[in-house]
Amino acid sequence: VSTQSTGVAFYPFVRMVKVVSKRSNRELGEIDLKTATTVNELKKQWQSKSKLAVARHRFEYNGVVLEDGKSLADYNIKDGDSLLFRDLGPQVGWTTVYVVEYAGPLILYALLSLRPSFIYNSSDVSKHPLGYVQLISLACWSFHFIKRILETLFVHKFSKGTMPLSFLFRNSAYYWSMGVLVGYFHNHPLYTPPNNVIQLYLGLALFLLSEVGNFVCHLILSNLRPAGTRVRGIPRGFLFEYCSCPNYFLEVTAWLSFSLMTSSLPGLIFAAIGGMTMFNWAVVRHVKYIKEFDGKEGREKYPRRKIFVPFLL
């Protein structure tokens, strides 16, 4: 006998639960719980019975999705109750997706800098070897994506372990095609560098500042969450005092600076598409923060902040 998080002193033993398809309302089977008391153990039982990987399971009880790490008692599930089940389809890990989608632009841009003859006119290539600005562009581009891969492996703490497999192809298609778009024009023999050094070095300086700032933001976010948990906290310090998602904002400024530095419309296109997507994400994140940190029941109240651009938006 122990006090569960529901405050009930005695929790009746659950021997079996039924699994019902959320889509078709048909009963799919039963889970014999044996000694299982947590959601994780329940999912493991269902995995061996249904042959579906745990990552694909989505169980619902009384309108609430069962979260890993919680116990059955947290949801007040009783013996013989029905759980609504949905198969999320083949899943792939976040880390895998991120590494694959970032490796593409890194490798493709570098390959294009070798100026393969089936892409570029060889006589033009021999007349125009890679210039100073093109080398800087190669360095900055590669630095950015190496940084992203390292952050994925060592810094980021993801709240969900997996995403649908189709996202891998969708995301990679976007990043890899951007890699080709920018890489093709920046390594082109007929590439034109900016005609004044101010533009070049101002762009470079702003790019580096944005990259460092973005990294600091990622560190702050990562430190908010103890390893292995899915805790969400209010980010504080640095630019987080002025907006909810300065990491996205600094990413956009990095690419705008990169475009300035290289005098590049393809770079601007990349910045624009990425910027619009990240703006949408920032709005969603901002709304989530406000909803979760409403100041009630002992929770902190989310401070007044802009969404995406410090002081402005």
């Binding site: 398809s21 089977g29 249904s50 042959k51 198969d87 007929l190 005609n195």
Partner: protein
Amino acid sequence: GINAEYGARVQSTHTSTMKSPSTPSAPNPLVNYYLAAFNLLSGVGWMVVLYLLISHYVNGGNYSTAYENVGGVLFVVQSIALMEVVHSLVGIVKTPVMTVLMQVYSRLLCACVVTYRIPEAQQSFAFTTMAGLWAVSEIRYFYYAANLLGLSPYILLWLRYSLFLVCYPLGAGSEWLVMFTSLPYISRTNLLSVDLPNSYNFAFSFYYFIISQLFVWPFGLYIVYTHMLRQRARNLSSPEKEKAN
């Protein structure tokens, strides 16, 4: 039983419900009247296009000169459709912006870019069929206007969800032919194309762009057609028929 679940997929946030552009998102009567007026105006505009097209032939005209009669009005009427994007952006209509953009894109490309600039496209037979089929399928504007004014005559409902069966494939085919006919001119004149070197470090070949659209068009038709088939099944099912009658 369990195996049936393998077919289930995560609902993508990008699934567009593709509501009709007339579905207003706020019950503001002024907005409703504006939208009704907009749809009526567009519908009438397309009737004018159809009238000019038919009268050209009735007066003994040839397909190579059809554009002279119809082209100007067509351009104006089709350009007005750009407002549908604004309506969606501003939020007075529930349709997502991406959906409206895709719907309007094919028209703008064919009417306001290709036919507007390229003589071979204007003089093709496909121009006549394209303009005519567009005009016929734009009966949908009257359907929207009626809905906004609270009316739902079954004949408009039926037309809206039946004309497409013929108009969409023939229309898409005509658009494809118009684009195909325009290729030689684009290649000769480098229309709307930019070459390296330039200070923006960007190049664009309208010729290859149009070729890429020739490959995309059949997929676009498939998507739009199957969507309309589902809408037809939903809207013209028996309970609705009895209600409307």
